[in-house]
Symmetry: C2
Subunit: 107 residues, 2 copies
DNA sequence: CTCTCATATACCCCGCTGGCTATATGTCGA
DNA sequence: TCGACATATAGCCAGCGGGGTATATGAGAG
């Protein structure tokens, strides 16, 4: 059911991982080494996080020689946007119901 | 400082908790008992999750007699929306940079 | 005042996951 | 072919957090 949302939220819940994704959004394609340099955690940890981001579809890896360039896949955020606007939608419709109710009460 | 985003993502990362929030968005004010009935977990667990949601500002509790009515606070999703559009914005601007580059190369 | 019901809190358990180090894999330069 | 470098994988450990049960708190009913 909420599998897609689940993966997204769970993946983005970790600060380190989200920071990596943010950097990739801001700076575009970046190597693991460059990411590691400012991540505040060890290189293997960065690789692991990138793996998780990749599995969630949030990130894409391109091999070039002995280094890997990662880039953000913004489209993967779509389910998150959908979910948010869906929640807002429920809210709105309930508000409309309330308006209807008040209207009917007032007449 | 992604503190606000952090709390939101972390809070919404758990499926059970997110389901509770979704129900509150769909159905409006609901009692703990009603929520527990369909949550698939015990009442204390529901209370705990509601506590977390409350701390994140996603939910509000209103005492009425011996029961508590919870309702979603949709405004709390704002940072999430901001974050998402910010990421999209970075993406866009990088795309613009690329366009600029291509333009300069082409002239 | 007491009993019951609705919710919250306390406490424990256990699995998941993020961090680490060590090492494997793979690529470039000499 | 060999060594250095870039990244990935393996294996381990500790802490966090979600689940449970037991119980406290508090409000209505009788």
């Amino acid at each position: 059911m909420s599998t897609a949302h689940d993966a997204l939220f769970r993946t983005l819940a970790d600060p380190t991982r989200r920071a990596l994704f943010e950097r990739l959004c801001r700076e575009g394609e970046t190597t693991v080494g460059a990411l590691t340099a400012q991540a505040g955690v060890s290189q293997p940890v960065v690789s692991k996080h990138l793996g998780v981001l990749k599995q969630a579809g949030l990130v894409r890896g391109r091999h070039e020689g002995r280094q890997t360039h990662y880039s953000a896949q913004l489209g993967a955020l779509a389910p998150l946007i959908d979910w948010t606007s869906q929640m807002a939608g429920f809210w709105e419709s309930r508000f409309d119901d309330l308006e209807d109710l008040l209207k009917r009460m007032g007449q």
